[in-house]
Amino acid sequence: MSLLARLRAGETLVADGAMGSMLMQRGLEAGACPEALNLSRPELLEEIARLYLEAGADLVQTNSFGGSPAKLERYGLEPRCEEVNRAAVAAVRRAVGERALIYGSCGPCGRLLKPLGDAEPDEVRDGFLRQMRALVAEGVDALCVETMTDLAEATLAVEAAREAAAEAGREVPVMATMTFDRTRRGYFTIMGIDIATAAAGLARAGADVVGSNCGNGSDNMVEIAREFRDRTALPLLIQPNAGLPRLEGGRAVYAEGPEYMAERAHQLLVLGVALIGGCCGTAPEHTRALRRLVSSPVD
């Protein structure tokens, strides 16, 4: 069944966890381009996708967070944008087949739009469109614009996703999440977007699913989800970090374990969050705990 059909049927879906830390465990060097592995080590992506599938994820992401041409350009990979993104989808498809839905990840382009920065909106939109077309052509089941802080940039990415889906003539739902900071006056992105503005703006841009990822552990994410719930009827996607990292033996280690996360995620279920997953620091163990929670009868 398609993602939208499952959401309409009222199903709660489990999304996977972090990608970056999984790649680092497998030898990705600090500062190297994670998406370059799509071309050089696709077997690593297959392995990670398989681990999340086996942990019980309904949705598994592609390794294409930095797959926009602007981001790839920093590593000299911009000319291979299509190849990088298609390889990201193909690896996950080989691993999960039709047993999980694949969502194509798309993060910020790394440049500030005019007048704050020097990036032309049209240029940024065209870049996102290139990435989205490649992800759609290779057969993603959904697209996910994530970790956005600028609503203008998020809007360009969501519009590009919509356009790529329309061109392909098939249903490709678009999810969009932003990253908020807790302040004394409530939650805002660093660009000053509050949750009400985000919910309305992302919906207007054409997102089918909205929500938040990264930047917060589970406690804050429950508050964020509650505010989204009050502001929109769209299905919500919530992906907390496993808390804030500490350094242990030269590696970043996250504080919130699978049990803690699943316990807090119960609140997300109560709020009716449709898609629950993890961001930085979460691993297949977190996915497994979320799966258990979602699959057990709600009391």
Partner: protein
């Protein structure tokens, strides 16, 4: 006096042309360059930094205000150099090796310049050796490091360790900051301070410089 307050107010609103114009007017009216800097530009930027710190304003407002501050600084700076007005201090800053995220680091740079510091900005993807070499070369008492990625945070410890190995850790103090960091993390890696945001980073750096002599 009035014009200096107006410079600060226009700077807060991010009006770069007005700030440049009024800075010239203030100088033409006989105000000392140092006074225009302190009571106009720096005063305005301090308000911006404080408002950002308490989330009354956000990154776009700060970037526009910084642009306005630079418009005024461009006018004042040549005169300050001529008068040999001493700087508040020197700081080497950069985003650590492997990390290309420079917004936070740039904010700290803006706030430091606003506070009268000479800033040696090494940019992004800065190797530990480069931080230390720059601090030695410029005689800077402080190295400020930024990271957004959990994958690059560990590089900060390499800088701290390198300073220790070279016997420089009394002379050169370290401060770290960035979204995934915490004061605990700074302590764990042996950094001398943690800057939660641009404003507190400047405060901590001033404190580091003040205590360095007696350390």
């Amino acid at each position: 006096m009035e014009i200096l307050k107006r410079i600060a107010a226009e700077l807060e609103r991010g009006h770069d042309q007005q700030v440049g114009q009024m800075t010239r007017e203030a100088l033409a009216a006989g105000f000392a360059p140092k006074q225009v800097l302190d009571e106009g530009l720096i005063a305005g930027m301090n308000v911006v930094g404080e408002k950002f710190r308490v989330h009354e304003i956000f990154l776009p407002d700060v970037l526009l205000a910084a642009r306005a501050m630079y418009a005024g600084m461009d006018v004042v700076k040549p005169l300050l150099l001529k008068e040999e007005v001493p700087v508040a201090g020197k700081a080497v800053i950069g985003t650590v090796q492997g990390d290309l995220h420079d917004i936070g680091k740039n904010l700290v740079g803006i706030m430091l310049k606003g506070a009268g510091f000479e800033v040696i900005d090494l940019g992004n993807d800065v190797a530990p050796e480069r931080f230390v070499a720059a601090a030695e070369e410029h005689g800077a008492p402080v190295i400020g490091m930024s990271a957004l990625l959990t994958t690059t945070m560990p590089v900060m410890k390499k800088v701290v360790d390198l300073l220790r190995q070279k016997g420089l850790s009394e002379r050169v103090k370290t401060i770290v900051g960035g979204a995934p960091l915490s004061a605990d993390f700074a302590r764990e890696i042996g950094a001398d301070a943690y800057g939660y945001d641009g404003v507190s980073a400047v405060d901590r750096i001033k404190a580091l410089i003040a205590t360095r002599g007696v350390a």
